[in-house]
C-alpha cells in the first residue's frame, strides 16, 4: 500500500508538478501549458491520495484505472507518472523530442502505465465506461477515473458515453471536468456554450458534485462522495483556472496550446520558487 499524502503534502507535490510542467514545456518548445496547470491539483490528489495504484508493478491486478480523455495534458500526465514512480524523472526532459520516449500525446506502446493511447478528444469517457463495465462484470471493487476537459464536452461522443454510463449504473466510475472555461479559440461559452453543465449531467442521470478544483479539501471530499454514491456515476465539476499558479498564463486562452519561452519560463519558475537550472538538475538526477 502506498502512503497517502495529506493536504499539506499534496500542496507541495502539486508545486513540484507545476515546476515539472513548465520545465518540460520549455525544453520541448511546444505543448499544452494551460490545461496541464489547471488540472494539476486534481491529478495530484488522484495519484497521491485517492487511487490504489502500484506504479512499480504495472500488472497489479487490483489497480484502479485512470484515463485522461484530454490527451494533450501530457506535461501533467507524465509529471504525475514520473513523480509516482512509473519511470525516471529525467525522461521528462526529453518530452516531445525525437530522442525521448514521451510522445506529445499519451502512447501506450512507449510509456508503460498508459492504459490506452489518447489524443483525439471525446473518446476517453467511453473508454472509462468500458473499463468500469468490465470491472463490474468481474465484480471487482476497483474504481475507474477519467479526466475530461470542458471544451471537450462539445464532442458528441461524450454524451453518448454519459448516457451509457448512467444506463449501466456505473457507480464505480468517477469523471472529472477541468472546468477552466477556456479552449484554444477562446471562451468556451463563446466558441460553443456548454452551460448549464451540472444540469446537463443531472439530466443524463449522473451524480454531480461541483467544487473549486484547486482546493484539496474540496477535491478529497468530492472523491469521497463519489466513492460512497451508489447506483449512478459521479462527475466532479472542478472550477479551475487555466494556467493556474503562473501569473501571466492565468485565465488566458492563448496558453492552451503554447509553451513558455526561456525568458517566460524563468519568470514562471521564479513564481513557483525555483529556477530552470535548479529544477533541470533535480530532474536530471532522478
Amino acid at each position: 500500500m502506498r502512503e497517502k499524502l495529506n493536504v499539506e503534502q499534496l500542496k507541495s507535490k502539486a508545486l513540484e508538478i507545476r515546476r515539472n510542467i513548465i520545465t518540460m514545456l520549455t525544453y520541448a518548445g511546444s505543448g499544452h501549458s494551460g490545461g496541464s496547470l489547471s488540472s494539476t491539483d486534481y491529478g495530484t490528489a488522484l495519484f497521491f491520495n485517492e487511487m490504489n495504484i502500484e506504479p512499480k508493478n504495472l500488472n497489479y491486478k487490483d489497480r484502479d484505472l485512470w484515463f485522461f480523455s484530454i490527451g494533450h495534458v501530457t506535461p501533467l500526465i507524465y509529471s504525475l507518472m514520473a513523480e509516482a514512480g512509473y519511470f525516471p524523472k529525467n525522461d521528462l526532459l526529453l518530452f516531445r523530442q525525437f530522442q525521448g520516449r514521451l510522445e506529445g500525446h499519451p502512447c501506450k506502446k512507449h510509456v508503460p502505465g498508459i492504459e490506452v493511447s489518447a489524443g483525439s478528444l471525446g473518446q476517453g469517457l467511453s473508454v472509462a465506461v468500458g473499463a468500469a463495465l468490465g470491472s463490474k462484470l468481474d465484480k471487482h471493487k476497483r474504481r475507474v477515473y477519467v479526466v475530461c476537459g470542458d471544451g471537450e464536452l462539445q464532442e458528441g461522443q461524450i454524451w453518448e458515453a454519459a448516457m451509457s454510463a448512467a444506463h449501466y449504473k456505473l457507480d464505480n466510475l468517477c469523471a472529472f471536468v477541468d472546468y477552466n472555461k477556456l479552449q484554444i479559440d477562446g471562451n468556451v461559452e463563446d466558441v460553443m456554450g456548454i452551460h448549464p453543465l451540472g444540469d446537463k449531467f443531472r439530466a443524463f442521470n449522473w451524480n454531480v458534485v461541483e467544487i473549486d478544483g484547486h482546493n484539496f479539501e474540496e477535491i478529497l471530499a468530492a472523491l469521497e462522495k463519489a466513492r460512497n454514491f451508489k447506483g449512478r456515476p459521479t462527475v466532479i465539476l472542478g472550477n479551475t483556472i487555466m494556467g493556474k499558479c503562473v501569473s501571466f498564463m492565468e485565465n488566458n486562452h492563448k496558453w492552451h496550446g503554447n509553451p513558455p519561452s526561456k525568458e517566460q519560463a524563468a519568470i514562471a519558475l521564479a513564481e513557483l520558487g525555483t529556477t530552470l537550472e535548479d529544477w533541470t538538475k533535480r530532474l536530471a538526477e532522478s
Partner: protein, 313 residues
C-alpha cells in the same frame, strides 16, 4: 448449385463457441444484434452481452475499455458504420493502443441490396488496411467466417472481420484448414491465377470452370486475410502462372487488388486485372441485379482473365 448459407451466421455461431470456452469473451452491438446475428450470444450469455444503442463511436471505445480489464470484446454493426463512422476511434483508441478488440463489419459489399449506397460498405479494405496493427479478414463463406471469428478470439490484437448479409455459396467445409494470414489454392491452374476474397471466391471458381472449357487453366486462390497479406503465396502464383486477376466486392481503389498488386510489383511483376466496383457508389436493387450491374460476376472475371492473358508475354 452448392449449399447456400449466410456468412454472418458463421460470425454469430463462432461467437457462441468462443463464449462457451472463454468467459472473457463479451459482445457489444449498436442496436443491430439480430441482423448481425450476435443475438445468439446474447441469448446464451446475457450478462456478457452489451446493447449500447445507436452509438458506434461510443461502442468502439467501450470495447477498448473492456479490453483494458482483460475482456475480449467483439462488436458488431454494419461495416458502413464500423469502418467509417467509428474510424477515428479505431485509429487512435484501438489500433494505436494495439488493444485486443474485435470489430465485426456486417452487411459489407454491394450485395446488401435494396438499402442502397449508404449501407453498401465498399471502402473498409482500403480504410482498415492503411492502419498499423490491424488484422483484416474477409472470409468467403459460413464455415470460414466461423473459423475466422474463433481465430480472432484466440489471437491477440485488433481485428476487423468483414462479412455479408445474403446467403452465399458454401465453398469450404468444417474441416478446411484456416490460418490467419495464409491464403490457399482451391483450384489448380498454370495459365493465370484468380485471387479472390469473400463471395467472389465462388464466382472465381465458376469462372475457372468456364475458362477450362476454353482450354485455359486458371488457378483459384482464396486470400481471406487481406492484412497481413500472404506475400509468399502471391509471389509464387505470379512466378508460376505469369498473370493475376483479383476479384473483390469492394472499391477498386486500395482493396484486395491493390494489396496484391503491391506484392506483385515488388517481387515479380506480371500483368494484372481487377474485378471490383469501379470507383462509384452503389444503388438499390436485388443483390443479383447489383452484382451484374457493378461487374462482380464470373463473366467479368472471365473477361478480365482473357485480357490479362493477352498481356502476358
Amino acid at each position: 448449385m452448392p449449399e447456400m448459407k449466410k456468412t454472418r451466421e458463421g460470425w454469430g455461431k463462432g461467437l457462441v463457441e468462443l463464449g462457451e470456452v472463454n468467459p472473457n469473451v463479451c459482445v457489444l452491438t449498436a442496436d443491430l444484434g439480430e441482423s448481425t446475428m450476435c443475438h445468439f450470444f446474447g441469448e446464451k450469455f446475457p450478462e456478457r452481452y452489451f446493447q449500447v444503442g445507436i452509438a458506434e463511436q461510443n461502442m468502439m471505445c467501450i470495447a477498448a475499455g473492456l479490453s483494458v480489464t482483460g475482456k475480449i470484446p467483439f462488436m458488431a454493426t454494419y461495416g458502413a458504420f464500423a469502418a467509417c463512422r467509428a474510424l477515428d476511434q479505431i485509429r487512435i483508441t484501438v489500433a494505436y493502443s494495439n488493444l485486443n478488440v474485435k470489430i465485426g463489419g456486417a452487411h459489407g459489399g454491394i450485395s446488401v441490396g435494396p438499402d442502397g449506397a449508404t449501407h453498401q460498405a465498399l471502402e473498409e479494405f482500403a480504410i482498415i488496411r492503411s492502419i498499423p496493427n490491424m488484422t483484416l479478414i474477409c472470409p468467403t463463406d459460413f464455415w470460414e467466417t466461423k473459423k475466422a471469428t474463433i481465430a480472432a478470439g484466440n489471437t491477440y490484437g485488433p481485428f476487423y472481420l468483414r462479412f455479408g448479409r445474403e446467403n452465399v455459396p458454401v465453398v469450404t467445409n468444417a474441416d478446411t484448414p484456416f490460418e490467419i494470414g495464409k491464403g490457399y489454392q482451391l483450384e489448380k491452374g498454370g495459365d493465370l491465377t484468380i485471387i479472390a476474397c469473400g463471395m467472389m471466391v465462388f464466382e472465381a471458381l465458376v469462372a475457372s470452370e468456364e475458362l477450362r472449357k476454353q482450354g485455359i487453366s486458371a488457378r483459384v486462390v482464396n486470400i481471406h486475410t487481406i492484412k497481413p497479406i500472404d506475400r509468399e503465396l502471391i509471389t509464387k502464383c505470379a512466378k508460376e502462372t505469369g498473370a493475376i486477376v483479383t476479384a473483390e466486392e469492394h472499391q477498386v481503389n486500395g482493396g484486395l487488388g491493390g494489396a496484391v498488386a503491391e506484392v506483385v510489383v515488388q517481387n515479380f511483376p506480371v500483368p494484372m486485372e481487377f474485378v471490383a466496383v469501379m470507383d462509384t457508389f452503389g444503388k438499390s436493387g436485388k443483390p443479383s441485379e447489383l452484382m451484374e450491374k457493378f461487374g462482380l460476376t464470373s463473366k467479368e472475371i472471365i473477361n478480365a482473365s482473357l485480357k490479362a492473358l493477352k498481356r502476358k508475354k
